[in-house]
Symmetry: C2
Subunit: 122 residues, 2 copies
């Protein structure tokens, strides 16, 4: 994410890599999926995702905001309220991401079975 490596020639591959690298972040996809049904505030987002530290959630949200996938709305109150929601661009990624999520739910059992079989063979 810090610049295009010299060995890269194809922009198609590079652009694919860029978005995969976005997802690669391990938390990014989870955040987009969590925001898919509507905006959430920082704390709720953290609970919803589960297992993410404040640091990682902040960094992930900043990256997503920077890339134009998430919008941040600050309500100047005390205590502060910060609402995060997907932009149009973010929503356009939500659908394909959801398809991956569905694939996971449908095929995890198969994957785990394959894994057990493979391990038993060794």
């Amino acid at each position: 994410m810090t610049g295009k490596p010299k060995w890269l020639t194809s922009t198609a591959i590079w652009s694919t890599r860029v978005s995969l690298a976005r997802i690669d972040n391990k938390w990014t996809a989870m955040v987009v999926l969590a925001l898919g049904k509507g905006g959430l505030r920082f704390g709720d987002l953290r609970v919803r995702i589960g297992g993410i530290s404040a640091k990682m959630l902040t960094e992930t949200l900043r990256d997503l905001e920077r890339d134009g996938l998430v919008a941040r709305h600050i309500h100047a109150e005390m205590p502060p309220r910060v609402q995060y929601e997907l932009t149009d661009l973010g929503r356009s990624l939500y659908k394909p991401l959801q398809a991956i999520g569905r694939w996971a739910e449908e095929h995890t059992a198969e994957v785990l079975a394959a894994r057990d079989a493979y391990d038993a063979r060794q």
Copy 2:
């Protein structure tokens, strides 16, 4: 990938996390995408993907084989030929993954523009 953390309660979320963790590997998605159009041997796969070390390609392929997404065919010749191809399970993941790839190609320009705008603002 080494066991279910104690803090996790929802299996739906967990299964999502499992497959995202698969993709998370940074190279896994690239490999599945590269094999989508048909089988490839180790060397060709490496060239096709680009920028991946032999070590990482080997590890990624073993993981995918273990999870039942990729099949490995060894042709006992000299020099050896090893062909990799997607299983039915692997092919079922290919489609949603391809959707992500398409999203990338279509929206990378927007993402980069948003990124530049964000950076200019700082």
